[in-house]
């Protein structure tokens, strides 16, 4: 086993351990709500800071996991699962952050808080499961001494992980888009169509897309480092091209149909404001979903 790999495994073990301890502290703070929120600022600040630490730790552990796939044939399947779980956990972290923010508001306005606190616990349990799984994974990986995974298997695993992540990210993204449309339905559509979207409205969508971009970058780096195999495997290249064509041809008519439907309904097409941005997001996540699902299906079919 290379020394660098071993160091990176130990970094992940330490990171996962620190994060688990920190999550225990956060759990105690949420359990003690609203009393715990009356404590001096330093106690609640630790919860706020932890969100950023969790995010950075997630990204680091996922990156290390991508590179660890190559080091063990035995663990490559577990590694792929860990990557997917990592992305689900990042989405849970976003929910956790929003519920924490909402808890503060509920606390200030003395609103009922039980539902939000439960949401914080559920999202926290997903994050905890990710760190426990990564702890076990890297402990076992650091202890083992066996042969390297062949490149052909590594390429398959990262391809599966990439497309799985694509499916999960796009489903969550589409759910968020649907949720935003539901919010708009409760308000005056004409006003909202002209209402400019704010930067922070797009942050959740960027956070959802981030995991996919991370694996894509990891996959790109691994392809770049291994010159012998080139950017694509021939079969993967064929599957990717076919999936891209299916994604484009299936979603484009749908979008055109929706625009025509919208035009017939309101008599005008908005080119700025919240509604067109949401349709663009719907298109992007829709394309990603069809593309990733088709690529996975083509891969599994053979």
């Amino acid at each position: 086993m290379k020394t660098n790999s071993k160091i990176s495994y130990w970094i992940c073990i330490i990171l996962a351990s620190i994060n688990l301890l920190w999550l225990t502290y956060n759990t105690l703070m949420f359990a003690g709500f609203p009393k715990s929120f009356t404590l001096p600022g330093i106690y609640t600040d630790l919860v706020t800071i932890s969100m950023r630490v969790f995010l950075v730790s997630h990204l680091m552990i996922i990156t290390m996991t991508i590179f660890s796939l190559k080091s063990s044939k035995k663990f490559s399947r577990a590694g792929s699962i860990l990557i997917v779980l990592g992305f689900i956990s990042i989405v849970a972290l976003l929910v956790h952050y929003l519920s924490y923010d909402q808890l503060w508001e509920d606390y200030e306005y003395k609103d009922p808080y039980k539902g939000m606190r439960n949401m914080a616990f559920i999202s926290e349990s997903i994050i905890i499961s990710f760190f426990i799984f990564s702890l076990i994974y890297f402990v076992l990986l650091a202890r083992k001494r066996n042969s390297e995974t062949h490149e052909s298997i590594f390429r398959e695993r990262i391809f599966i992980a990439l497309n799985f992540t694509g499916v999960i990210c796009s489903v969550v993204g589409l759910l968020f888009v649907w949720f935003d449309f539901k919010l708009l339905d409760d308000m005056d559509k004409n006003i909202n169509a002209m209402y400019p979207i704010r930067n922070f409205d797009l942050i959740p969508f960027a956070a959802i897309a981030l995991p996919y971009l991370c694996v894509l970058a990891g996959w790109g780096i691994s392809c770049y480092r291994d010159k012998r195999y080139g950017w694509y495997d021939e079969k993967q290249s064929f599957d990717v091209n076919r999936s891209a064509m299916i994604a484009l041809t299936s979603l484009l008519p749908l979008i055109i149909g929706l625009i025509i439907h919208s035009f017939l309904g309101s008599g005008q097409i908005y080119v700025s404001g919240t509604v067109p941005v949401l349709w663009l997001l719907f298109y992007l996540f829709g394309i990603l979903l069809i593309f990733s699902a088709t690529a996975l299906y083509k891969f599994k079919k053979n």
Partner: protein, 68 residues
């Protein structure tokens, strides 16, 4: 018309080589080897020549046309 192949036979003649070993030797994924063997994927000319060279044979020996 479809493309048939003798890759499986050549693999077994070469010390019962696994798909994974062949994939590593050629520089493709195991999935590609499997798809080519099953006739579900037609390799490029370059890959066909690579395979033929690896088994020390000709492309015509390795691949053949199947009439419907």
């Amino acid at each position: 018309m479809r493309l048939g192949n003798n890759i499986r036979r050549f693999r077994f003649e070469k010390n019962e080589m696994s798909q994974e070993e062949l994939a590593n030797a050629i520089g493709i994924t195991r999935q590609s080897v499997h798809a080519i063997e099953k006739g579900k994927f037609v390799p490029s000319t370059l890959l066909a020549f690579k395979l033929a060279r690896f088994f020390n044979t000709s492309v015509e020996e390795l691949f053949y046309l199947l009439d419907n």
